[in-house]
């Protein structure tokens, strides 16, 4: 076999943390190699070492896009690489496509691809814009990409932006491409397209390393899979010789129940109703387009969809954080369309926001102070404008205890907690409002598997207590598993509301890509629809 990359016994330590512990990774030239692991397993750190963003504490990096050479004993004859910066890695033929694209939005495709390596004219003074346009066209044709050099990044879709990122790496002569969670922002159809592109690249002799925490994708797209857990390599397997279950066990380190059961709901009165809501985003583009639905007491109403299809704006319209152009929102029969955020909270609406570090917690406040966020004007914490910090501390301590927040210290600043613990604190605070309606937006994003299960169970408990739950998530398994009714959003509209028991993942995927329900072949009605299941395998361990 000919390796393009070998990472030899890499250890990377940060103050107080070992992110990579003696990891050895070998990637064959011309293949797709998946790096699988839960959040915090050390995948990104390892690739940042390969890309020159981090210097390894110990270990050697060998890279050669044309294949390493070996001496007679089979040891690598190439000199180990020392990358001081991504620039060095780029020179060695390593390109990285980050999860968050490194693109300059107001600039054009060609400008972005050639950034830092602009073809020049007039003695280097001016950028040769014709030459860069041609270079981009040539590359894009060679790999069958369809990109318009003069389009602005902000005007093109996410899938195309990703291709621009890949072209950017190829333009710099990348032979080894690292893709960090490339599918997170893509629709299922775009994911398929991406996998075709990867095949095209490996056919041309390029080597692809692809970081993911999704089992299915690793199995589908890669030739080989290396699983990282707790910063260690726990095994490399060929995709032909393994199973979902085996990979899941490697990832989590214990046998995983891929399916848990949720008892059926017994819904009551309508608690939350949304009628004909239309809203625009920050750029005045319609983000929510004439959306109507209602959530009943004792039911979980799920909204699925690829991120950025209006779910965030919809949630914020419902919770009073975003203005709407048209439509009506009712909470327990009361019109709250123009009610303030505070009025809605007082009327019994709890909200677990999508972005806990921006919205849900004041990062510089301690937990005592964060515990009253949203109730700072209300009894029992406030009396005639004065805050009762004793009571607030007691409240925070109760949440900490009941929701197992660590460290169990009400004086700890929110920013010192791990993501999972931050989220547990928010969930605890919101649930402690005794709400009649809970809006939960991506409640387990970036949360470790234990906390995820815990939060799921609590949501179901609340539902069973007769509260209404509006659940928005881009994790298909999560919304399918928890929801009693499930809406799919695409480009600001609700494509359809379905019974999650009666659709397949594929059908949901097509709906998330905007296929009209009538175009989607309906599933054969499953005879024993029984208790539904949710798939926790793609839950994430630890987080940011």
């Amino acid at each position: 076999m000919t390796e393009a990359v070998r990472l030899d016994s890499i250890t990377k330590r940060f103050p107080g943390v070992v992110a990579n512990d003696d990891v050895t990774l070998s990637v064959e030239r011309g293949t797709v190699h998946a790096l699988l692991g839960e959040n915090g397993a050390g995948k990104t750190t390892l690739m940042n070492v390969l890309y020159g963003l981090y210097e390894p504490t110990e270990g050697d990096v060998y890279v050669d896009g044309d294949g390493l050479t070996y001496d007679d004993d089979g040891a690598v004859a190439d000199a180990p690489r020392r990358f001081d910066s991504p620039g060095d890695a780029i020179d060695a033929g390593v390109g990285m496509i980050h999860q968050h694209f490194m693109l300059v939005d107001p600039m054009t495709v060609a400008e972005n691809i050639t950034l830092g390596n602009e073809p020049r004219k007039w003695g280097g003074l001016a950028v040769d814009r014709d030459a860069s346009r041609e270079a981009v066209l040539e590359l894009s044709e060679r790999y069958g990409f369809d990109v318009e050099p003069d389009a602005r990044i902000e005007d093109i879709g996410v899938g195309v932006q990703q291709r621009v990122e890949i072209l950017k790496a190829l333009y710099r002569g990348a032979e080894v491409l690292i893709l960090d969670e490339p599918t997170a922002v893509l629709t299922p159809q775009e994911v398929e397209d991406l996998f075709d592109v990867l095949e095209e690249l490996t056919d041309a002799g390029k080597t692809v390393i692809f970081i993911t925490h999704k089992l299915g994708e690793a199995l589908e797209a890669a030739d080989e899979v290396t699983v990282l857990r707790d910063g260690r390599n726990v095994g490399t397997v060929g995709t032909a010789d393994t199973t979902r279950e085996e990979l899941a066990e490697l990832m989590v380190g214990r046998e995983v129940m891929l399916e848990t059961e949720t008892p059926p709901a017994t819904p009551g009165e309508t608690a939350l109703s949304v009628e004909g809501v239309t809203a625009v985003d920050d750029r005045d583009v319609v983000a929510v387009d004439d959306v109507s639905f209602s959530v009943r007491e004792g039911e979980v109403f799920g909204i699925a969809g690829v991120d950025g299809n209006g779910q965030s704006e919809l949630v914020e319209v419902v919770t009073g954080l975003h203005s709407l152009e048209e439509g009506r929102v009712e909470l327990a029969g009361r019109d709250v369309t123009h009610a303030s955020r505070r009025e809605r909270t007082r009327a019994g609406m709890a909200y677990i926001p999508e972005d806990r570090q921006d919205r849900g917690l004041v990062m510089d406040f301690d937990l005592t102070e964060n515990g009253v966020l949203g109730s700072q004007h209300d009894a029992p914490f406030a009396e005639r404008g004065r805050l009762d910090w004793d009571r607030a501390e007691g409240h925070a301590s109760e949440i900490i205890e009941e929701y197992d927040v660590r460290p169990p210290d009400a004086d700890a600043e929110a920013k010192s907690l791990s993501g999972g613990n931050q989220q547990k604190f928010i969930v605890g605070r919101e649930f402690s409002r005794e709400p009649s309606c809970i809006v939960a937006s991506h409640p387990t994003r970036g949360v470790d598997i234990g906390s995820t299960e815990f939060i799921h169970d609590r949501l179901v408990d609340l539902r069973d207590e007769g509260r209404a739950v509006l659940l928005v998530s881009s994790k298909l398994d999560e919304v399918r598993g928890l929801s009693d009714r499930l809406a799919v959003m695409y480009r600001g509209r609700i494509v359809d509301v379905v019974d999650p028991d009666e659709v397949t993942e594929e059908q949901l995927g097509l709906m998330m890509a905007g296929e009209r329900p009538e175009d989607v072949p309906r599933a054969e009605r499953v005879a024993d629809a029984g208790p539904r299941s949710r798939d926790d395998a793609d839950a994430e361990v630890a987080d940011d």
Partner: protein
């Protein structure tokens, strides 16, 4: 709010046009309401005097140069609110060096040097030591506000200082070149053109006015056509993209901030050397021009040409204000007339303040941070 929303989607040119019309209308309505139609006419007549345009051009110079500097700095991601301070030190530096050497051109260079050094200090503080850009910019202003009068008192014994020389006229400058055609025919041509009513002012302005137009064009070209301009823009929009493309973001930002010092330096030295003196008491002779410059480039949407046009708008107001004071057309007391440019800055900012800042402006960037 609806006005603001409606205005939001407009392009740069339309914004400036709208701002001009708005300010003009506001003034006209104000005067008309005061019941002085004849006064309105007199003001209009004043507005289209050649001397008003000449004054507007002269007053534009420091603002336009500072604005160009501000554009480079902010486009690269460093909000330079210290432009006022850069103008102050270069105004003094220009006078100081001129008084020693006797040459306004060396004085200009001295001003540029003073301002660039202060800009370098600002750059180090912001880029190396991650200072809050707004507070650091303010500090630059405060330092200059103390330093220039301090130095002036030390050297000249007073907060006000005389350079002993001013810029020659453009005709004189050309006549002295010694190039046959230039020193005769071109000069004669310029003199003839200068006779045109109103627009004639364009042909007998100070050399720094022409330098300003050249700088505006060069800045536009640099930002939009050179690799440096691209890097500056990328550094302000998405520094990580630039970094991962192998370009050192800090170096780009250093270059941009120092460039803002050079440009503001030309403006400040031009301001004081056009008058041949430095005035250092109170808010000094710069008197808020650096802050007005910030508003002009915001209004001009970071486009050098747009910034130039909005500069002309504010300088025009200032010129009109000066003429009004000088000719007593309006029965408004002078201190109140003097507030016109400041009030119009606030009005313009309130109506058109929602400029889209470069994405990463104001943020420190550390390579390798996740």
């Amino acid at each position: 709010m609806s006005v603001v929303d409606a205005v939001d989607g407009l392009g740069t040119r339309t914004r400036i046009a709208a701002a001009s019309v708005g300010v003009a209308l506001l003034a006209a309505v104000g005067i008309a309401l005061a019941g002085h139609a004849d006064v309105l006419l007199a003001v209009l007549a004043l507005l289209f005097q050649k001397s008003t345009l000449a004054a507007a051009l002269r007053l534009s110079v420091p603002i336009a140069f500072a604005a160009l500097g501000g554009i480079f700095a902010e486009k690269s991601g460093v909000i330079n609110i210290g432009l006022e301070g850069l103008l102050i030190v270069s105004a003094f530096g220009g006078v100081y060096v001129t008084s020693i050497t006797g040459s306004v051109w060396l004085g200009l260079l001295g001003g540029v040097l003073a301002s660039s050094l202060l800009a370098l200090l600002f750059a180090i503080v912001c880029i190396e030591f991650r200072a809050d850009q707004i507070i650091a910019g303010l500090a630059i202003w405060l330092i200059a506000l103390g330093l220039a009068p301090f130095a002036s008192t030390v050297v000249f014994g007073s907060t006000n200082a005389s350079a002993g020389a001013t810029f020659p006229g453009i005709d004189q400058l050309l006549a002295n070149t010694g190039i046959p055609v230039v020193s005769t025919t071109v000069v004669a041509g310029l003199e003839a053109l200068a006779g045109i009513p109103f627009l004639g002012a364009l042909f007998e302005a100070s050399p720094v006015v022409y330098l300003m137009f050249v700088a505006v064009a060069a800045s536009w070209w640099t930002l939009n056509r050179t690799f440096f301009g691209r890097w500056v823009r990328a550094s302000g929009e998405n520094p990580r993209a630039l970094d991962t493309a192998g370009v050192d973001v800090s170096r780009v930002r250093y270059a941009a901030v120092i460039l803002s010092g050079v440009l503001a330096g030309v403006g400040g030295a031009a301001l004081s050397l056009s008058l041949g003196q430095f005035v250092g008491n109170g808010p000094t002779m710069v008197n808020g021009k650096g802050f007005i410059a910030i508003v002009t480039y915001l209004l001009g949407n970071y486009n050098p040409i747009g910034a130039m046009l909005s500069t002309l708008l504010f300088a025009g107001l200032d010129a009109l204000q000066l003429s009004l004071q000088g000719q007593n057309v309006l029965a408004i007391p002078r201190p109140l007339v003097r507030t016109i440019p400041y009030v119009s800055v606030i009005v313009v900012l309130a109506l058109f303040g929602r400029t889209r800042l470069p994405e990463a402006a104001g943020e420190h960037y550390e390579s390798g941070e996740e």
